[in-house]
């Protein structure tokens, strides 16, 4: 239990630093902006209480906001996905339910399940975040294009990065 907790905290620090020190400096034009830190919320264990997920997501968002000068924007988007994660997991649950102590990654749930799950959450996060950032509708389609391209970019990045964590799990 404590080992898991330490693992989660280390994952949190690594992902925040990855986001702030490295990914923030990857510039792929103004339409693709990557947010791989969402992976932290994606990879919380299945049996985490839903209220705790919500609060952890909110704190994650606030931490990113501190670095990005966007007080409240990431926190708002993160608490939305922290809230919706419970329902999305319910929607996607296999017939026999989730096993205890499992982590939602490719290794334990299979690639198709993980792709659906992460793509949904990443898309919701980006959709909410970019419209909140612009906060007006006169650039509607430009923002939509930005949401779609950024979601796809973040998704590819997340899919690759989660293998880093899954490998350490298997060595155990």
């Amino acid at each position: 239990m404590i080992v898991n907790l330490i693992k989660i905290i280390i994952r949190f620090i690594i992902l925040i630093l990855l986001q702030v020190l490295i990914v923030q400096n990857i510039r792929l034009g103004s339409y693709i902006i990557l947010f791989p830190y969402i992976l932290f919320i994606l990879l919380l264990p299945f049996e985490t209480p839903k209220l705790l997920v919500l609060i952890i997501a909110f704190i994650t968002g606030l931490t990113i906001d501190m670095f990005y000068d966007t007080a409240g924007m990431h926190a708002a988007a993160c608490s939305l996905i922290g809230y919706l994660r419970y329902y999305i997991l319910k929607l996607l649950s296999p017939r026999e339910g989730y096993d205890q102590g499992m982590i939602p990654n490719v290794d334990s749930m299979g690639p198709i399940w993980f792709i659906t799950y992460s793509a949904l959450i990443i898309f919701v996060h980006n959709l909410f975040f970019f419209y909140l950032e612009i906060f007006r509708f006169n650039e509607f389609f430009k923002t939509l294009l930005r949401v779609i391209l950024s979601s796809f970019g973040t998704f590819c990045f997340v899919y690759i990065v989660q293998f880093l964590f899954y490998k350490t799990d298997r060595n155990k």
């Binding site: 103004s30 926190a75 809230y83 950032e133």
Partner: protein, 279 residues
């Protein structure tokens, strides 16, 4: 009352979610104010320390460019000092200092954080109120204008870059002084748009765009960029001019912060006459 409490308790997940979203909204709205909460931006202690470490490491990679720019600036400055001029005998010419007042003061600083790919981009500088920075000061590099200071802490300051959806800088064409606001459309960090240029202006590709003194923040005549293209939209009697920015926002490192010594006086005068005419 009891029923309400039971209802709240039953749906506590949803209501805590709503509460968190409300907190976020409050933060957002507060931060949009010109001097909103400076706790949650990158001029606070922890995040600015981390950014400073990162910049220190990154600086080594940019040393070559920076040296070249400094050398260029040096030659430019050497050409302007007395060494390069013959002395005029004092009998015929007396320079009187009272003819000039120093209107703008320059302070140098270093950018420790910079973004270019968001819709509202910010910079963090390693100088703050202890070095005399206040909000509304202009930031330039030797290449061109960069942004405007927004929040200040003791040793750091956070600034809106001109690549920000709410920043409007008054600029003019160098050759005939026709002016208009410079607004960034959010698509490419190398270009910005100069709007409201009347169609009788004779614009050519490559014309120089400089700041005008209308804003009171930037001194007049600082380089902004060069005209890339221009078009007249249907139903409008103005040109929209695409300007190639002369400052390279990907490589900003050392900047000068400009203080206008007479800004307070000018602002209070302008405000006073506006209030009088409103009556």
């Amino acid at each position: 009352m009891k029923n309400i409490l039971i209802f709240l308790y039953k749906n506590n997940f949803f209501f805590i979610f709503l509460l968190l979203e409300c907190i976020c909204c409050v933060l957002l709205i507060k931060n949009n104010g010109y001097q909103g909460s400076s706790l949650l931006n990158s001029s606070n202690e922890i995040s600015s320390k981390i950014y400073e470490l990162q910049t220190n490491a990154k600086e080594y990679l940019l040393l070559k460019d920076e040296n070249e720019r400094l050398a260029r600036m040096n030659t430019y400055l050497i050409n302007r000092i007395k060494l390069g001029y013959a002395a005029i005998p004092l009998k015929t010419y007396v320079k009187n200092d009272t003819l000039y007042k120093q209107e703008y003061e320059f302070m140098s600083g270093k950018v420790i954080n910079n973004t270019i790919n968001k819709r509202s981009n910010y910079l963090t500088l390693n100088i703050g109120s202890a070095q005399g920075i206040t909000h509304d000061m202009a930031i330039i590099t030797t290449d061109g204008i960069v942004g405007i200071v927004k929040d200040v802490s003791e040793n750091f300051s956070s600034a809106m870059s001109i690549l920000h959806k709410d920043v409007r800088v008054n600029c003019q064409l160098k050759k005939d002084g026709i002016f208009g606001p410079l607004i960034w459309d959010g698509s490419d960090y190398r270009f910005s748009n100069l709007t409201d240029i009347p169609t009788h202006a004779k614009i050519k590709k490559g014309d120089t765009v400089i700041t005008s003194s209308l804003s009171g923040i930037f001194p007049e005549g600082i380089l902004v960029g060069f005209v890339e293209s221009f078009e007249q939209k249907a139903n409008e009697s103005f040109y929209s001019v695409k300007v190639r920015l002369s400052a390279d926002f990907k490589k900003i490192n050392h900047v000068s912060v400009i203080k206008n010594n007479y800004k307070a006086e000018r602002d209070s005068l302008e405000l006073k006459s506006q209030i009088q005419s409103d009556r």
